[in-house]
């Protein structure tokens, strides 16, 4: 138990230090594009796990919405980086997000039924909240290219919508 919570704490610490490192050291557009794209891919992966494991209609519908929306916005992101001739660049924030998501997926893999549904949707609320915070305070203000900034702003509205949608689904499970 002690070991497990220490690992979780270490992951959280790593994530916040990565975010802080980025905050003092403004991310470049190729890094921002990579972070935003990664955030979308990770949420699609979480949704795929829910589609495999859950039997709850609300959860399944929500997970399908996540796959559809995040794939659509990531397709726009790919079209944009191609147009701007930008190569997304891996970085500490992307790595920390991926590591935290991998750990969360491993944790969720051990749960079933109502316990899985609740943990999945609670994590969706927390995850979207975290990504929205990064978009608002770091990624949008740091973006240099106007089209990238505009896509991130649309992404923020989309993710805020998902956060509210996840909160609604969480409320229905109770």
């Amino acid at each position: 138990m002690l070991i497990r919570s220490t690992t979780a704490l270490a992951a959280l610490f790593l994530l916040s230090t990565a975010m802080l490192a980025q905050a003092s050291d403004k991310p470049s557009d190729p890094q921002i594009a990579h972070i935003a794209y990664t955030a979308g891919v990770l949420d699609v992966e979480a949704a795929m796990q829910a589609l495999k494991k859950s039997k709850n209609k609300e959860i399944l519908d929500f997970a399908k919405d996540m796959v559809r929306d995040h794939e659509a916005v990531n397709k726009q992101a790919l079209d944009l980086v191609k147009k701007l001739n930008v190569t997304p660049e891996d970085n500490a924030t992307s790595k920390a997000l991926t590591k935290a998501a991998d750990e969360e997926r491993a944790k969720l893999a051990k749960l079933d039924g109502a316990a899985f549904d609740k943990a999945y949707v609670d994590n969706e609320v927390a995850y979207h909240k975290q990504v929205n915070g990064a978009l608002e305070t770091l990624l949008i203000p740091s973006a240099e290219n106007a089209e990238l900034k505009s896509l991130l702003e649309t992404g923020l509205k989309l993710f805020q919508g998902h956060e509210q949608h996840a909160e609604h689904v969480a409320g229905m499970l109770k």
């Binding site: 659509a72 649309t154 805020q160 919508g161 998902h162 509210q164 949608h165």
Partner: protein
Amino acid sequence: MALTIAAASAKAETIEVTIEKLVFSPASIEAKVGDTIEWVNKDVFAHTATVTGGWEVMIPPKTSASLTLKRAGSFDYFCRFHPNMKGQMTVTSP
């Protein structure tokens, strides 16, 4: 005055609401029973126009969907997929 009312009741209109970057525009509309609301979705995301406990219109990406108004009243609607998208309509009897 009488003429205006007669003209208004005779002709049903189509009112267009654009959806772009997760915003209903205009956010607030006034209509009459018999008018049609047409939502034009310019986003790559599916949206809905949903009244809690009432009607729901599905608006797939890059398409339009419409609803003919049958009841008078004031309605708040939202997108069920993105509840931060909100709209409002006031529907009067013809």
